[in-house]
Amino acid sequence: MEKIPNQKAWLLVLPVFAIVAFSAVIPLMTVVNYSVQDTFGNNKFFWNGVGWYQELLDPSTELGGRFFASLWRNLAFSGAVLAIQIPLGIIVALAMPREGWGVAFSLVVLALPLLIPWNVVGTIWQIFGRSDIGLMGWGLNRLGFDYNYVANPIDAWLTIIIMDVWHWSSLVALLCYAGLKSIPEAYYQAASIDGASRWAVFTAIQLPKMRHVLVIAILLRFMDSFMIYTEPFVVTGGGPGNSTTFLSIELVKLALGQFDLGKAAAMSIVYMLIIIIVCWVFFTVMTNAGADRKGAGGER
């Protein structure tokens, strides 16, 4: 049978194309454009090919050194944040009440940190940690700890990690709680009949059933922590020295501080590729591991 051509579909698709073009493709191509050229202002551009990329990926250059230093710092930060927030979120979710007034109460309390804007969170902890007037900083010093996040890199790291844990563990907890709530009561009853210990219930039922939400939680927390900017910028400004200068802070320094648009553009592209690749690999591995389970068709 002859197909009747119907061009109306373009009307439906075109707005999407336009939105994606203006929101993603055109800005991205601008960055790509900058990353392969050099400019000295006056809208004069000189072709530089892959020069910025070569410099960026060579740790012996000044640019490459800065890039890799902040990359390792950022990976360490994301690793620390995930290592604390995921277990903590699971523990909090397990401890949350299942019914009664406590449910609404704990949900509200947990959601509170998530509602606070990033720079407000930064400001809160910046003041909270100050050793002259901040409750935590002053208190720690009075207790005999030599705590000063402005001068000591370890204190600065601790402050930023604790701040991030305070800000985002709730998200993991809420996701895990949703995962736990979806487990039918019969599983717990069966486990108690099968004589399962509390630990066996956790490893045999709760953890496997939380798998899907944990994948999402890990992805979200990795991306967010890998792109963190506002809070460390407000608290430490990347210091002391460069000790809390993460990738995005480095990028802003490069682009807006030094106005090295070519280098900054090359770094942006590499930065973006790292995030996309890590998320893609992680997501593919996790969903493939789950895909053949659904293939059996017996999933209830």
């Binding site: 019969a186 009949i193 099968d194 004589g195 496997p208 053949d292 059996a296 017996g298 209830r300």
Partner: protein, 361 residues
């Protein structure tokens, strides 16, 4: 391995002080014999799952107690009661293989490796799960998953009882038959007390030696399938068991005579002291009412429809406002819609306020 006694058991999900008529389980006393195959039969919401969960300890009853071999187990947890229970929907441990799933209840109780292997193999063989033993349980179909659940219920040899809570709901009909007969075989082979909850009369009657019929939170009759069929103690049993259900007709009964819709019927027994003011009904199964050509002396009926069930035919007829189902004898052909009904007196029961009244000879 235990005799289970229920003593004045009652439960309300709103707490023990709620209105007694709203109880999910009204006061019940009963004994389950060691090694028996029981079915708890009743429609949805009649309290049968509540009763089961009280025995296994998942639900704490508002009143009364449960005894295992005369020992009060109310203070014991589900684990300590040593009960196995299979639920309506398959419960499997996703990360384990089929074999590990079956071994789980034994492993948790510290049974030795060799004994676990032997027992798992025995059960897997009975349930035809041997080829799948090393496969991930989460990759199997719902049928196979439910077989695993059944297997986990049966794998412990020393359980006080195995409780089944409508275990074949998710199984497709062809396999249902097979699994049910398998359970029957297992029951004989393993000498376990089994209590099987269902709302399906065929399931109950084929599985159990003793069927316990529940209605609105109370047990209305306990008996063999034959007793339930021939002598329903409660009009609900008559109506719920059998297809089509028993005809229950309002009547006036005096001695050996019953009057239904102005028609006199003679009864096999004599009913003298019927409680005054009670609602009197007679019940007779459609199998014992037969359709005949209209004739004087027979209850005249108008045929509304005839269902052909293959092996037998049942006519749905109307006598005045009453609806009656009756067997259509083989080879009967009727001219029009008019017919007569023949009742077998021996199978007519008299009910006062829904309870069967024993007649005198």
């Amino acid at each position: 391995m235990a005799r289970i006694d229920l003593v004045d058991l009652a439960h309300s999900y709103d707490g023990g002080n709620a209105d007694p008529s709203s109880f999910a389980l009204k006061p019940t006393s009963m004994t389950w014999r060691q090694g028996g195959a029981y079915a708890l039969l009743g429609p949805s919401g009649c309290g049968k799952t509540t009763l089961l969960n009280i025995i296994s300890g998942i639900v704490k009853p508002s009143r009364g107690k449960v005894l295992f071999d005369g020992r009060d187990v109310m203070a014991l947890t589900t684990q300590q009661r040593n009960i196995a229970q299979v639920f309506q929907f398959p419960v499997i441990y996703d990360t384990m293989t089929v074999g590990e799933n079956l071994a789980f209840p034994l492993k948790n109780r510290g049974v030795g490796r060799a004994e676990i292997d032997a027992r798992v193999h025995e059960i897997a063989k009975l349930l035809d799960l041997v080829p799948q033993l090393d496969r991930k349980a989460s990759r199997l179909t719902a049928d196979a998953k439910q077989k695993i659940s059944l297997g986990r219920g049966l794998v412990r040899a020393d359980v006080a009882a195995v409780l089944f809570d409508e275990p074949l709901t998710v199984i497709d009909p062809a396999l249902k038959w097979e699994l049910r007969s398998k359970l029957k075989v297992l029951h004989r082979a393993l000498d376990l007390t089994m209590i099987y909850v269902t709302h399906d009369q065929t399931e109950a009657l084929t599985f159990a030696d003793t069927v316990v019929v529940m209605h609105e939170g109370s047990v209305v009759q306990t008996g063999t399938p034959e007793e339930l069929f021939l002598r329903p103690d409660h009009t609900f049993v008559g109506y719920f068991i059998g297809s089509p259900g028993m005809n229950v007709l309002p009547a006036e009964v005096e001695g050996r005579q019953a009057r239904i819709a102005g028609h006199e019927l003679s009864l096999a027994r004599s009913y003298g002291g019927l409680p005054p003011g009670a609602r009197i009904e007679v019940g007779i199964r459609p199998e014992f009412v037969s359709l005949a050509a209209a004739a004087p002396g027979l209850l005249a009926a108008r045929i509304e429809r005839i269902d052909d069930l293959g092996r037998s035919r049942f006519a749905h007829v109307r006598v005045g406002d009453l609806k009656i189902a009756a067997r259509v004898p083989r080879g009967l052909s009727l001219g029009g819609n008019e017919a007569g009904l023949i009742f077998e007196p021996a199978h007519i029961h008299v009910y006062a306020d829904q309870r069967r009244v024993e007649g005198a000879a």
